[in-house]
Symmetry: D2
Subunit: 355 residues, 4 copies
């Protein structure tokens, strides 16, 4: 069962629900996001039905859930959530671009990439300071030095920062610098890490495991939510299949599938899905057209010299095309682009639609 709290419910209201549920022998988990609070219940359904939860102060709805996840599920008839990252919204009314380098290499490279990101209409800057690499001999990221670079570039450009955290031990440090914590595909079922970011007080970007079903992905989100944090954005980044023409297979259907099952926003990563620069623009457009709430793309001032995933990074010359593709597709979907994407509806670019 799931209790959706009303907009004006207080923390005390939620605590009273927890107390009532516990008195009936159940357990209750309060999860808060920027625009809603829900309480998930575990226990005997009949007993919990009988305690009059819908009469409690601050309760908007009490819903049964048939799915194994509950805090992150979508209660039929309710809107999907908006997650705000340092004021930048990700949710049903917008298409938010997150862009930046795969890895933070130098202050200059990061700043240049951030400027490209802003030119592309990005609302948020991505960039990795801790890099999960298949080989222990590959560049592993700059660590905390990279985080400081990201913070400086945020200062300079105004773009809030999304960056990956790999280890429970680093969560506090990364949360000290970043505006949003990213959980990578290889850590989607690193449960202690999910629990730690659930308690870190920052919105979380949860990438889908390359091997994970949609249900497992939502269960991973539930791990985060169960620790109190409902500000979670899901990111489809391709699954592993037999096809080798692309690095992974973008599961575009997962976008509408997830939106029917979960209240959480879902964005798409065309760069890691395809592993090929030439597919990033068409896949970004397809993602928005499928209903994605945003796109996250690799940008690098000099992809050929990138220390990580150069072949998939867009460069400066690709920026106008990316901006136009996302802007036009957002307009097709009747959505705003919070980062100020270049393609949006000024009279002059009316014709872009038909080009």
């Amino acid at each position: 069962m799931l209790v959706v709290m009303s907009g004006d419910a207080t923390q005390a209201d939620a605590r009273e629900i927890v107390a009532l549920v516990e008195s009936a022998g159940g357990e209750a988990f309060v999860s808060r996001g920027g625009n809603r609070t829900v309480v998930g219940l575990v226990g005997e359904a009949e007993r919990l039905d009988a305690i009059g939860l819908h009469r409690m102060r601050g309760v908007e709805r009490v819903a049964r859930t048939s799915e194994r996840y509950r805090l992150v599920s979508r209660v039929p008839g309710t809107d999907r959530s908006v997650v705000e990252v340092a004021g930048v919204p990700i949710g049903p009314g917008t298409v938010t671009l997150i862009a930046g380098p795969c890895a933070v290499e130098t202050p200059e490279q990061t700043l240049e990439a951030a400027r490209l990101a802003r030119a592309a209409g990005a609302g948020l800057l991505r960039g990795g300071a801790y890099k999960p690499r298949t080989s222990p001999y590959a560049f592993q990221g700059l660590g905390e030095r990279g985080l400081r670079i990201l913070a400086d570039v945020r200062e300079e450009t105004g773009l809030p920062v999304v960056t990956e955290v790999l280890s429970v031990c680093d969560v506090e440090t990364v949360a000290g610098y970043a505006d949003m914590l990213q959980i990578g595909t290889r850590n989607m079922q690193n449960f202690p890490l999910l629990q730690a970011v659930g308690e870190a007080g920052r919105p979380v970007l949860l990438k889908r495991g390359m091997h994970a079903t949609v249900e497992e992905w939502l269960m991973a989100a539930e791990y985060i939510a169960q620790r109190g944090n409902l500000d979670i954005v899901l990111c489809e980044r391709g699954i592993r299949t037999f096809e080798t023409a692309t690095r992974n297979t973008l599961d575009i259907s997962a976008v509408p599938v997830v939106q029917r099952l979960s209240q959480l926003p879902v964005i798409v990563d065309p760069s890691h899905s395809a592993g090929r620069r030439d597919l990033v623009v068409p896949l970004s457009r397809a993602a928005v057209a499928a209903g994605a709430d945003g796109v996250i793309a690799d940008l690098h001032p000099r992809p050929e010299a990138a220390l990580c995933d150069g072949p998939q990074a867009l460069s400066g010359e690709d920026v106008p095309e990316l901006a136009r593709a996302i802007g036009d597709a957002a307009r097709l979907m009747g959505r705003r682009t919070p980062g100020g994407l270049a393609g949006r509806g000024t009279p002059g670019d009316r014709r872009l639609v038909a080009v």
Copy 2:
């Protein structure tokens, strides 16, 4: 090697090339489509280089191909092909909707479905008379009686007909009724069938095998082309992966990947990919936004009573949304919709973009 013939080349020109190549100990395969003729060569590259092919009458270009397929490959710098089906174009300038019932059941059901298809803006009618079913106890299609129904409905509605052929023995019969022959996913590597439709004098719709790589799919097209027929449209219809939320996983990336490798048009089947009615519209929009040259969708007047694949069929009430989605997405891509899709650019439906 591949010889692209000029628009005014004659059949005699092509025959002379074949003769020249054979005199040099090679083999040459002439493949003709509505808008181009190519000749594929097999033999020692150095010897073939030396015989002066580019000086022969009617030769536009002589190109080396590094891929294992050649007739269906895309020669850099040349346009992609347009395949015309009874006057309806499928190719780079258009978004063509093919719609209709999964299976032909009765004259009434087929006619009703065809009218829905036309209302949705379809340029072509799909419908199966020979159905490949997992179970021998399931409805296997009406056979030739189904073909006659399709022909009658074409008469009534003006929509040219696309229908599947399952067996070499039936190719001639099906080609006698249909405007376009469909090869289904389970027959993508049924090589004798590919060769037979390559000689049948009708455009071919070649669905991707659910297990096939892009390269294998293009090799299957090459089998058809090698028998002389270059009027082939590729159809991405989902591949088999571990994910069970959808029936198959739509490989949306295959659209731009194929367009870089092959001159052939490529369309998307959102119905068989997803196996779920509620995903057909978002996936159709995504397909067009990714660059697909068309969409093929299941429509049924009463999906709940369908003898085949009812859960994925759209019904009459879904038609306006499908028409609008494809029309708007086509306009986003600057393409025409040959079937006259409802959503296209009249001032009145400007607002549809933002709904």
Copy 3:
């Protein structure tokens, strides 16, 4: 529902059951194998229950089946079937080796390969005259000339012949030469072909589709059985996955899974699974240890010169190791090796077990 006929039931007995079922508004399909006859029923279960099938002459058992296949299912408490190919058994008491070249190339190569097969303990000779090739430019097999070579080599060596048929049009021709008809992985759901071999009067070797679930594979067998032929041997030959270290992924678990669901024998093809010569012996041993009723392996006198799949073929020098591996593993399982495998229990090779 499924009716298992007793060993002494006559064709007239089966016909009477069909008549009785039809009189009750149902359908009945009689399927005969060398060691049993079954009748599969389609219709309303309650009505069929009421007509007293178990009292009919020649009826051993009447069983309900929950699976979608019925003729090929395993009735709990009954033995699995033995399929005899020109007197060579494949079934639960034996481990039968089928070996030979991937493709018939010349009389000499085929005869040499057959002698190697016999030396390896093979009970049957494999060899392709019609070859399904990914590329239309690759060697497509010798056709009927290849069949004649196989027949000559059978004469010379005494080994019955298993060979693939690709097209409905060739079934009669191939059945005129071969002792067993093979359906390849790409044709597992070529339903007209399945129906044709179901009527051809020869045992059938049905390879699993590289994309097929176990259930789909058994449904394909049901297509053959429904046309009257229950002499079907299933062959696991690897499925398609993301792993590229092997050509396909041998699904060894399918062996015991199928044996619980179906009465049909199941063998393993380690050559096409792995696509690597060095894995054939360990995978053959594993297959037998998992309970496989046989192994089918590629053998070629000169793999480096093979026109098809040379990298996976064993050569003469590998024969003793293959023979010993299969012979020893068969003994571990308490099974006979009908082809007379070299490794079997003479005192002298006792030590081979521990090498």
Copy 4:
């Protein structure tokens, strides 16, 4: 490049090699296992070739490696490694059974399961105190209390303990109780955790990621080895595919593939591969016949009451069959069974081979 040290080489010898490599501008990583020490080099191959490494004291061999991993690679012509866990060997001469409950639930259940394990011939006891569960509401293991139970049961039964560690924060605690640390499938690319167990001074059991290629799996082992620990045992536990008849698809071919590429022992987990009790015995036999160095199986005194993965656990009544299957298959392969498997070669059970 890779330097294999001789058996009598000292730590000082290895340090001198590191110093020499560093003086040439390279990096060197010393990795030690119970039966060998290797030094992996990173740097310019030509420069490293020129410094005379083969003349250094304690050097047995200097080998070039073409693979991306080096410390865990197999130098052609050298034996595969033996990893000893509290005196119990896992390696090429033995078949070691590891058995026990999926999760430690109570002292009694764990002790009973350990006695079953010993009866089955196990050399090591498995049991999870920290459980990675798809759902945050599922039983998460007893934590350190579970570790104490395992230690008590080891005391009682003499079986060394293998147990999973989920988080960098727990490595020291778990290493304080366990004889071998297990890295689960979901953590195969949790790089900080791999590095931490690489420094923990205990042998490691590295399960293959359900989505991982063989190469990625060996790269994960390289992460552990690079931190100094070469006592790593690989465990194939099934990969994720489209087939749903089993929980995962056991990639039996990975056993011989890995043994050609890596010096590390490799064992098989039939319980998690199949997720079905009835497949554990045939898959165990197949694993040993394919060359596996051991088997790890779930055993539970009352599977129907298990808190985790009951459907795949063997119970007491399955123990004799498991013991016999592994014992007989080990004898087929000419290997010892260190735990004293019941089936082993006493004259009296000669007949077991043929049962």
